[in-house]
Symmetry: C2
Subunit: 493 residues, 2 copies
């Protein structure tokens, strides 16, 4: 339906983005924030057409899409507020000491934008992590033009959202080239974008293979660029003994809900559940079985994801020692994955790397440990994760400090008696974790701290006040927080 762009067209788009960058980087924080808010308004103005288009392309229910649209609008508006507040700029000033030998110069530092950013959206979040999603919002906030490559699974939805961004850009008098929307169903256009010298950073949400390919391309360039790829993970839940014994049914309900939420198509879906094998675990498994059997599977996002889920599920279940505990009663059609819970002994899990891999969809594997030592060994054997969850009583926490110590090292978000699904959009959120959950554990793709991904510090030494950016002028005309001679303040100099 949408023809791939040619490389000549991409060259043209990027030339305009570079031109736009030289203007846009000087736009005020307020102008950037106004643009973001205008995008939110235009997305809302697309009305039901946006929802029905996305529903037809992704199989996601209208209620979910309505919620995701609200989340997208909230992201744009709340990141706009954060942009204007300016704390993310990390502005700092050290005043001169002329009488020192040698004289101490005046130095002032703030974050400045990197340049044109390419965003590869997520198949599972057509609004919140796609065209006008978190990466786009953060790049615009930082002062960067954005080039979105439409996700082929929802190109029509992406085109609609792009039209809203174009309208907002026009209304806000943005420079030509501030935003571009391109198509590329295969790898060629994505590869071409990642290698293009005009591109200064990449945002990506998707599979490990996709993210890793971009990461490698970016690092092999003459001038390497940062790639922020959020590649998902298995998000282990550790069920500790006292909690498991005293809250069995409730845990089973919570976990069944989290595993099957949105047909398991969240990057925070809990794919591994780790516990010591004892009577309470048996009871938990039988509760979980009942919960799972009662859930009616819905259609997955698209045929490719369903086919991939069913293939990976068959592979996982074929591994030695893996036993099915419960499955949804409805037979899975090709477009519908069958919700599945299985178990495996910890020693088998530890010996078989296939069991550590993500099966993207409604599947979870319960790892049965013989004892506390095996619980610890399983935690140590895990790769980097977006999240890790501890289901525990206070007594459990106190008696499992070594476990907690290990779990902290493998995740970006450490959850206590909550499920990992549901990623709050807040400054204190961290969505990103040690590799391979993401390519850069130091940056988040959710929350206003994500703006920092697309900026770098620039130090101004010995400049006259009139030539400094407003953010660093003596009078502090924007009233932002700055660290002046090591003291955090909103004062002027």
């Amino acid at each position: 339906m949408y023809k791939d762009n040619t490389t000549a067209e991409i060259d043209n788009v990027l030339e305009k983005a570079v031109q736009a960058f030289h203007h846009y980087k000087k736009y005020s924080l307020k102008q950037r924030a106004d643009f973001m808010r205008a995008i939110a308004v235009e997305i809302e103005a697309l009305g039901d057409e946006l929802l029905t288009t996305a529903n037809a392309e992704t199989n996601l229910p209208l209620a979910r899409l309505t919620g995701e649209r609200a989340r997208t609008i909230f992201q744009l508006n709340s990141y706009a507020a954060a942009t204007e507040a300016g704390n993310w700029l990390n502005a700092s000033i050290d005043t001169a000491l002329g009488e020192r030998t040698p004289p101490k110069p005046d130095t002032r530092k703030m974050l400045v934008p990197l340049g044109p950013v390419v965003v590869f959206g997520a198949s599972n979040f057509p609004f919140a992590y796609s065209t006008a999603g978190g990466d786009t919002a953060c790049a615009i906030a930082a002062g960067c033009p954005v080039i979105v490559k439409a996700h082929p699974a929802h190109a029509k939805t992406s085109t609609l959202v792009a039209s809203a961004i174009f309208k907002a850009a026009e209304k806000c008098n943005m420079p030509e080239g501030i935003f571009a929307h391109v198509y590329g169903a295969g790898f060629e256009i994505g590869t071409y974008l990642a290698k293009h010298e005009a591109v200064k950073a990449i945002g990506f949400t998707g599979s490990f293979s996709g993210g890793k390919a971009l990461f490698d391309l970016a690092n092999q360039r003459k001038t390497p660029i940062p790639v922020f790829a959020e590649m998902g993970s298995v998000n282990p839940i550790f069920l500790l003994p006292e909690k498991l014994a005293t809250d069995t049914e409730n845990l089973a309900k919570q976990i069944a809900g989290s595993v099957t939420l949105g047909m398991g198509q969240f990057c925070t879906n809990p794919g591994l559940i780790v516990a010591i094998d004892n009577e309470p675990l048996d009871k938990f498994l039988s509760c979980l079985k009942k919960e799972i059997e009662a859930i009616v599977p819905s259609a997955m996002l698209h045929q490719g994801i369903a086919t991939n889920f069913n293939k990976k599920l068959v592979d996982a279940l074929a591994q030695k020692g893996v036993q099915i505990i419960g499955q949804s009663n409805t037979t899975a059609s090709e477009a519908q994955g069958q919700i599945t819970i299985a178990t495996v002994a910890a020693e088998i899990f530890l010996a078989n790397p296939i069991l550590h891999e993500e099966v993207f969809g409604p599947y979870s594997l319960i790892i049965q440990c013989k004892d506390e030592n095996q619980l610890l060994a399983v935690a140590k054997a895990m790769e980097g994760q977006l999240t890790a969850t501890l289901m525990a009583t206070p007594t459990d926490v106190k008696s499992h400090q070594a476990l907690l110590n290990e779990i902290q090292e493998i995740c970006g978000r450490l959850i206590f008696n909550n499920v990992p699904t549901g990623v709050e959009v807040a400054l204190s959120m961290h969505h990103g974790g040690p590799y391979p959950a993401s390519t850069d554990s130091r940056f988040t793709s959710v929350g206003a701290d994500g703006i920092k991904r697309f900026a770098r510090p620039l130090c101004f030494q010995n400049w006259d006040d009139e030539f400094l950016p407003d953010e660093l002028k003596n009078a502090n005309p924007l009233g932002i927080w700055r660290t002046i001679d090591n003291v955090l303040t909103q004062d002027k100099i």
Copy 2:
């Protein structure tokens, strides 16, 4: 003199570092700061032996070494103060909203350490950017054990400084393995360290080839790790017309001093000077020639650096169109580089990539531009730089906005009417620039913001107050700045 460690010894060192990490990451900010201050005390206690040893190994004069030792001690003490103040932790809290649908969880975020860090010190800074230098101080501040590979050119100095760190570690009851000092004169040990799974980050100061090799090794690991390589640059100075015409002699003095400071062996040494070819430039060149001829060259750091400088100098001077303007009168012996200033026409510079390369030592090339357009073209053609300097009057600045716009994109520090040599140790300093000046333009290797290189955010969701780190507890027992529900405050909750 110092035998290379075996890989088995390295394995052992790293196993201890991992063990140390699990303890040290829980040490308080104050304990870390006390350790840093104790290192400073022990370095001072080494007394003259440290200075004479470094002098014998590096040829650096005692006065310079005394200054560098003071800088190293200042770094340790000032970063210790920043560590305790805790602003670098970027702590943020969003409180729960139980009544919301779905309920909003309590989330709290702060930076946590990455794990064992390997530091490769600089040949040109035996104290400040070597064994107990900026990288080591920042890693310890962040909560990471450090493994220093001694620079083969000053291994004895490094061993002395390491003894001071060991003493401090013992006095401060640090865990065994918090610091290690290893030897490897060739590439083998460095490569082995960079590929080792226990290593979580690398700090490096040195050549482009060395930094790039580590960067590639680190990205090709099963689990890639960040490499913070500061690889130097040519630090262009742009002389704008009015300034050049009105301040000619003074500019020549300033620039001659900067080019020859420490025999040009600073990563911020100005290797390119760009100006429009006119009468004032002729006058500037004849002043510069006089200044340069009057300077007596001193010995370079070591034979390898001198040989390399002389080789690269011969290459640079052999390029078509390059003309020597002035050289120090003293004939260079093998161990002494000959201070040299040359010129080349901008069109030749633009066409010859060899002329863009750093010649590490006291050499600078003046690029003569026909007009303003050529000045802009030269700026656009430059690679990433640690610094770029504008020598200009206010009128020059106003009439060169397009040039300023380009220059900002190529550097990490933008200097106005100051020389690039002399990197102030301050929070607002940025020492690092777009690739290839450094491998990650988002982080600095000078100033307390360098601590952030060795940390990543961790979000705690829904934890009881008693289990949270002190930094995130409701009562804010450390009194640090935190962003609570989007407001920056030192208050408790």
